[in-house]
Structures are given as C-alpha cells and as structure tokens.
Amino acid sequence: MPMTITEKILAKASGRDAVKPGENIWLNVDTLMTHDVCGPPTIQIWKDEFGGQAKIWDKQKLVIFPDHYIFTNDPHANRNVSILRQFAQEHQLPNYYDVGGERYKGVCHIALAEEGFNRPGTVLIGTDSHTCTAGAFGLFATGVGNTDAAFILGTGKIWEKVPESMKFIFEGEKPEYLTAKDFILQILGDITTDGATYRAMEFDGRAVYDLNIDERMTLTNMAVEAGGMNGIIAADARTEAYINERSSQPYTVFKSDADAGYHSVYEYKASELEPVVAQPHSPDNRAVVRKVQGRKITKAYIGSCTGGKMADFVAAARILKDREVKVPTFVVPASTAVARQLKEDKVNGKTIHQILSDAGCVIAPSSCAACLGGPADTIGRSVDKDVVISTTNRNFPGRMGSKQAEVYLASPLTVAASAVNGVITDPRDAMG
C-alpha cells in the first residue's frame, strides 16, 4: 500500500506493516523531551499516577532542557528548575542539561537537533507545541501536554490518530531576499491557523531541499501555527551528514511513495514569492511587506527557536553590517552553541556578534526570553502599546508581553531592514 513518510514512520512505531489516516494507534516513543514549564507538572502526574511503582521507562530516551523561564528572579520560575535538577539527580538522568554551567544548551528544539536527538524515522514527543520542529530531520515529532507526557514517562507509549497529510511543494530557486520564514508565512496566509488541524504538513521541492538545516527547521517549527500535528521534510544527504556528526544511534530514512494519498497538495514557485509579514494578531494575517511598509515600529526582536538560529543571524547581519538600528533591537540566540558561533563566524573580518552589536543590537543570553512574554523582568518583553517586528512564531494578543502591543512576524531579513529604518521595510530595499 502506498504511504506518505508520516504514515511509514507511524506504521513502524506501532509495529504494523501499514497504517491509514483516521486510525487510532499506540506508538512506541523513541524520545521524550520536556522543559522547565511542563517538566515539573509532568513529573508530579507521573508520581501521582504510578505511585510507589513509578519507573522511568527508559532513561536514555528522556531529554530535559530548562530553557523557558531561567534568567529571572521570579521565585516560582526558579522553583521549577530546582524540581528538574532534583529529579535528574535522584534518577541519574543522562540527558539533563542544567542551566548555569557548561551543560546549559538553550531553547529545547534547537538543542535537540544540536545534541543529535533528531534521528530520521523515529518518533519524538515533547511537552511543547513546537516539538514539530524536529520533523525537519524526517522524523515524526509532535507536542503533547503533561498527562500524555507522564503516561509516556511510565510506559513509553502514546495514542495518536494517524493524520492525513498535506503536501507543500516549493519549486525552483529561492531568491536571496526570501527566507524559509517567508515560505511558511505564505502557507499560513493560504490555509489559516486551523488549515492543517490534525494533519501532517509535508514539505518538498527543490527550494526546500536547497535550504540548510536551520532554515528547514523554520518551516517545520511553524507547522503547529497551522494546527498541524507534525511538519516533516524527508532526510537527504545534508540531513544525514548533520546527524552522523552528532549521533551514533541507528536511524531509518523514509520517503513518501510517489502514489501516496494526500488531503491536498499546494505548489509554489519560489521565484514568484515576495517577502511577507504576519500582521497582528495572528500568524495567518499575511500581508506582502510592500503593502505594509512604512508602518512605525518601536522594537525589533531576532530570536526564538524559529528565528534565533545561526542562519537567521547570518541573514540579519547581511543587512545590519555597517548600519545602525533606529529602534531597540534584541538579539537572542536560540542556543548557547549559536551564541558561541556568533563570536566565531566572520563576514569580511568581523564576527557576526560584532556586526550585530556595532549596529546597536542588545545581545541577550540564549533562552526563550520574550518570545512568550515571560516574567516581568524578561529581556525584550513588549510593554504598553509597543509595535514589535519579530522573527518569532506567534503574535496572538499578549504573546510577547503586553496585551496592547502589536507584533508583526517576519523573516530575519525583513526584521533587520525594518530595525534600520524604524519602519517596516522590504529587505530588497536594504540589500543593495
């Protein structure tokens, strides 16, 4: 029976030869990821439900990253990290990445990739909606809540309804003024925030496979913004090279059959697309930058698992080089590895870190920071009626702090160009 890549992975994980969309199946989980916001309540449910018998099904498969609320004086937030630390000690967890030292990694989704947990063909479940990011490596990755995670923690299993797949093909060559962010915002505008609910979003086409791993993760990261269960890009040579450098664990490369069934197929010509933004207050409120250019902004933000990867800062630096920002601009590397690399990689003799700081950006330690607002003392948090242009993934009311603030989502090129002018700006006008 012809199957999509998602169906093939789910068939393997449920021990069947084939699965069909709509079937409810139990999956064996390969990796369970949690963080400081959802880890403590997950652990509590696991203790309450399994009682004295509570056992972790497989310590090697459990990965914990404190990353959300970490550089804060908020006592409740700090207590969450203490709970994780104690749990990791008590159970001698091999994959706990504590904050405050060498092991600290930064935002979970990027750290998962960097630490080699994103193995093609596996099932990765996380207590965070953007767990779908890992699908960029040709695996099934999706987010769940604490109860589901606690159940996995004790049993290694989860039920899922096999999703129908939607296919998004980007043909041709991507112009240099576009990034993967423009691709996904384009899709969101077309299918809206519930256009992929309970479905798999599969990305394909030359312009997708031309993207580097960072950029591929931008596509899959925002599958959940369309309601998608997972986003997925089949592994290619680039994926395998990346994973082989970081993991010696086995993996399986699956690809969709040519005659597999899809709910729908969308085709785009990359060269015909334009830079776009998502206007307040929804990621599907798309407008081409040309239509909204000139709108005043009060803040710019380049960070998060979506927009704080190396590729994002390289893009921003292309525009910010030898220029100055006109509005407060925050740079938050998604991971400590990205933060380090910013100080290593050079463009014309200057490190990217230097380029960004010379342009007047405030460079913060890596964490989720103001992507989700966070406690009142969070760096870059929006206040009052801020108008923010940001490389993050959500702009619902209050997401970045203030409920009165307006947030525009855009590519790092568009954000950098706008920061330089203090108004929303098409990157084509700043790239020379």
């Binding site: 409810n24 916001v37 959802c38 403590p40 309540p41 509590q44 309450d48 439900e49 399994f50 009682g51 018998q53 609320y69 908020d74 409740h76 937030a77 207590r79 969450n80 996380g126 207590t127 965070d128 909606s129 767990t131 987010g143 769940v144 809540g145 604490n146 109860t147 589901d148 159940f151 004790g154 049993t155 299993k157 309804k161 925030t193 519930d194 609910t197 309970y198 959940v224 309601g227 269960m229 929804s282 989700l372 607002g373 966070g374 406690p375 009142a376 959500r394 619902f396 009311p397 209050g398 997401r399 409920k403």
Partner: protein, 187 residues
C-alpha cells in the same frame, strides 16, 4: 460521568489561543498545591481582550475580581479553540475556574488531547454556529446521552458531534483511568 450538565454560557469567538486562556506569565504556579493552584482559576481567560470577552457585547469579566471561580460553567467557542502552546495549564485553568464543558466548532489538537487525557473538561464539537446563536449568560443544558444542547432561555436546541473513538477516555475520566480499566497499566 455526569450525563446532563447545566450551567450558564460564556460566549467567545474564533481562535481562542492558550495565551488568552491562561497568559504565559501565570504558568509558574504549582498545579498540585491546592492553595496555589487556585490561582489558575483566578486568571482563567484573563488574556481575552476586553471587547471580545463574553459575546455578543464583550466586556463581561469571566471571573470577578478576587474570586477563584466563575459563575459560567459552559464555554461556547468558535473554530480552532485552544490553539497555540501545548500547556496543559489551559484546560486545567478552565477546570479550576469551574468550567465543565466547552462547546466549539473545532479544537486545536493539543488542547483537545489535554482536555480529554487529563480529564479536566469535556470538549464537545458542534457543526452549528453557536457563538452567534447564544448569548453570554444564557442558561444551557447539555445532554451527553442525546448529544443535544438546549438554550433554556429560549428553548432552542442544537446538535453536538459524537466524540468518536475518544469517548471511552472521556467516560473513564482521563487517560490513566482509561488505561487502568483497559489493563494497560496496573493499579
């Protein structure tokens, strides 16, 4: 499981995301400490912009100042209810505030799973556009046997969608209860 649920409706629009259900700054309270977890009730739906809180007029506080529970136990939503983050705090906050049932045109997957697997609230779907048919404050009866929603304020009846394969989990009161009954886990 309770099959007939009565309560007052609190009507909301489309795309009620988890930041509106429980803003991120409140995610730090303990979910298990009985005193502290009351705060989730106190701040439930506090992220909904004023003009969209309690339709059709808006400006209706879901919870009055200083209280931990709402007088509204039935939430009526539009499409894509619960979109956004994976926080289980969202259906938990609604439960803490005294909500029993949410009736919406559609749900975001993670919110729906969390509501069902945690046994916090019963998420029901309807093909009718209740967000404009009902008003905040209407007295509602939901009958889970007949899958009917009745607006007792005017006698109108609406049809609810059968929850399908997840009904046994809803009826058991959550994933763990279901798994014990099914013999998947002990205890």
């Amino acid at each position: 499981m309770q099959k007939i649920i009565n309560g007052k409706a609190y009507v909301l629009g489309d795309n009620i995301d988890t930041d509106q259900i429980i803003p991120a700054e409140h995610l730090v309270y303990s979910l298990s400490d009985p005193q502290e977890s009351k705060k989730y009730g106190q701040f439930a739906l506090s992220g909904v912009p004023r003009e969209r809180a309690g339709l059709p007029d808006g400006g209706v506080p879901f919870i009055t100042d200083g209280n931990y529970e709402s007088e509204y136990s039935i939430i009526i939503g539009g499409s894509n209810f619960g979109c956004g983050s994976s926080r289980e705090h969202a259906p938990f906050a609604l439960q803490k505030a005294g909500v029993k049932v949410v009736v919406a045109e559609s749900y975001a997957r993670i919110f729906y799973r969390n509501a069902v697997d945690g046994g916090f609230i019963v998420p029901l779907e309807t093909t009718e556009i209740l967000k404009t048919a009902l008003k905040t404050g209407d007295a509602i009866e939901i009958n889970l046997n007949t899958l009917k929603l009745t607006n007792q304020s005017d006698g109108q009846t609406y049809t609810l969608v059968h929850p399908g394969d997840v009904l046994p989990i809803i009826e058991a009161g959550g994933l763990f209860q279901y798994a014990r009954k099914a013999g998947m886990i002990e205890g």
